[in-house]
Amino acid sequence: MASIEMRGLTKAYAGGVVAVNSLDLTIADGEFFALLGPSGCGKTTLLRTIAGLEQATEGSLLLNGRDVTTAPPGKRDVAMVFQDYALFPHMNVNENIAYPLRIQKVPSAERRAKAEETGAGLGLSELMERRPGQLSGGQQQRVALARAIAYRPQVFLFDEPLSNLDARLRLEARTFLKRLQKDLGVTTVFVTHDQAEALAMADRMAVMESGHIRQIGTPSEVFHRPVNVFVANFIGSTPMNLIPARVGPAGESLVVASTSLPVPTSAVGQLAEDEDVLLGSRPEYTDVSCSEGPGALRGTVAVLENLGATALVSVETGDLSVQAVVPEGEEPAIGAEAWVLPQRQRALVYRVTDGLLVSRAPDESAGAGAAPDAGSATEVASA
């Protein structure tokens, strides 16, 4: 078991591309930590740098307090599960699981027994003599996990562990992985581009964009208080509504196309008159009504998408489209007149100039151990 500490960690490639830019991050012992971001944001490079497959160009990396910045991958006591599992096709399941033990010179009988035991724990007992080519994707993934577990490393690294599974299996594997990690208590870092996966599995997560960490926090913090427009856009299964608005007289209202809306609770007293802002409201936290109400935007219902127990309503108001989630059975008719109202307690305000969250409670928004990048949320509040 170990903590992972990065200090000013930088990885620049020969061509001048900086994949990871001066990162400070501490992952606590036993934590399940997600690195989330769009492709090309440096999350996989960061994971590979922790594994030692890439050499950091600057900064240092500590595992359990030990500086491993220049240690070769085999000397770091980490195990990695690759996106394509990287099982050895010419070895059977037992040999695959036992491979790391074989390198550590564990006697043959002992490593067979250990592989058997680990495999049994993951429901692989029947498959121990098979080759990876004879296994389904889900089984291959469990073999890859077993190989990592049998080795008893201090840290697990998962690179997009669920991306090669089909949708239903992915949900099962998500629950399975989370339980497994809790049972083993091994510090785990996993990389994903799927925000739902990160929200569902992680204890804490970091949202990355072009080599920088934009926000660190628990899934709930990141979901409820994205620190900037990028994170706000990226997190959530339906994208957050970002409605351009101008601050009204005395900073006490937001004007959207001549309709005056109340300032969300989180931004009260923080806005100056005539400032250009974006009013952020998740569709889940946006109400739709068929009758006029104070501070509601008037529009017409353009699209209805059935999501099962809920429906996603797109309301066109002027040249804006605002989306809202309503319970099933309460959908307005297409073409009907409707009023949308962001919930005041949950709506957020972002400044247009720098894209940062306007907040009066800085302590909540910046997660513990936040990088300077993410810490810029603090700057906003103190401004």
Binding site: F82, F88, I103
Partner: protein
């Protein structure tokens, strides 16, 4: 190794079995149904041209020379294996056969081991001069080794290796390396990087990664390069003729020449000798064809 070898590679690749598209065949227009038949005829025709002489050789080896002159394409009157007895015992083919086996097997083994090791860094590592080194090996394929016979002869002479089977083994091993390195490095390159990285994270050393992960995965390619080295070496007449002198060191192709007299040739015995020379190769192809096709299609395709 020359361009001729490369074209042979393509021939084998082309004759690899194609997946037949039987489902829904009946609904296809007539033209699509004729095409497979035409292709089949063409291939069978080619096979007949290739197999005809071999059959003639086999039949001839069971007849008498006088018989063959009377009716060159006739069938044997009785099953007569005396030609084989003559070849094996009287013409000391047992010695030639053993020499051929020793020289070819050692040369191929040496050439393959060297190529496996040389191709590995070329295929898997990035380092300064890798391109130059690859070009150096490929240059060996461009230049027919027989053109270098004079310097090779002087080199071996100064090493005291003329009229030595060991000297022949060294020349043979070297002649096969460029092509083998070319095929193997392409094959190594095609193996996924994750396998190597997974082993590296587990703490495996570079040599261990090579031996336990990479080597087993290039097995089809090994079969390919072994065969492509072995066939020309087994049949080679030129180098033993120039580099060997003693009869007791001669290989089969040299041994066969004793049947070509200045005034007359004992065709029946010659055919028997040729059969003896051909049988090991036929057996080898029968055993290894599947591996070769896998090696060629997987290695060259990527």
């Amino acid at each position: 190794m020359t361009t001729a070898d490369l074209s042979r590679v393509h021939d084998v690749a082309r004759s690899a079995p194609r997946p037949d598209n039987s489902p829904g065949q009946s609904q296809k227009p007539a033209r699509d149904r004729v095409a497979p038949i035409a292709i089949g005829l063409l291939l069978w025709g080619y096979a007949a041209v290739a197999l005809g002489p071999l059959l003639l050789m086999l039949v001839g080896s069971l007849r008498e020379s006088r018989d063959i002159f009377d009716d060159p394409l006739g069938l044997p009157t009785s099953l007569d294996v005396s030609n084989y007895r003559t070849v094996w015992a009287d013409a000391s083919f047992s010695t030639f056969f053993l020499n051929s086996v020793i020289v070819t097997v050692s040369a191929v083994a040496l050439g393959t081991v060297v190529s496996l090791l040389a191709a590995y860094p070329l295929g898997r590592y990035q380092f300064r001069g890798a391109g130059l080194l690859s070009a150096y090996f490929i240059a060996g394929m461009m230049l027919p080794i027989r053109l270098g016979i004079v310097p090779i002869f002087y080199l071996l002479a100064s090493l005291g290796l003329v009229d030595s089977r060991f000297g022949l083994v060294l020349v043979y091993a070297a002649s096969g390396i460029p092509f083998s390195v070319f095929v193997l490095s392409a094959f190594y390159r095609g193996l996924p990087a994750e396998l190597e990285e997974a082993a590296r994270i587990d703490g495996a050393s570079e040599f261990r990664i090579f031996r336990t992960v990479m080597l087993p995965l290039v097995r089809p390619a090994i079969a390919t390069v072994v065969l492509f080295q072995l066939v020309p070496l087994w049949n080679d007449f030129f180098f033993p003729l120039v580099l060997l002198r003693s009869t007791e060191k001669a290989t089969i192709p040299i041994g066969l020449t004793q049947f070509f007299g200045q005034f007359q040739t004992d065709w029946a015995v010659l055919f028997a000798g040729l059969v003896v020379a051909t049988v090991p190769l036929v057996l080898l192809f029968l055993v290894a064809t599947k591996q070769i096709i896998a090696g060629l299609t997987a290695g060259m395709g990527k």
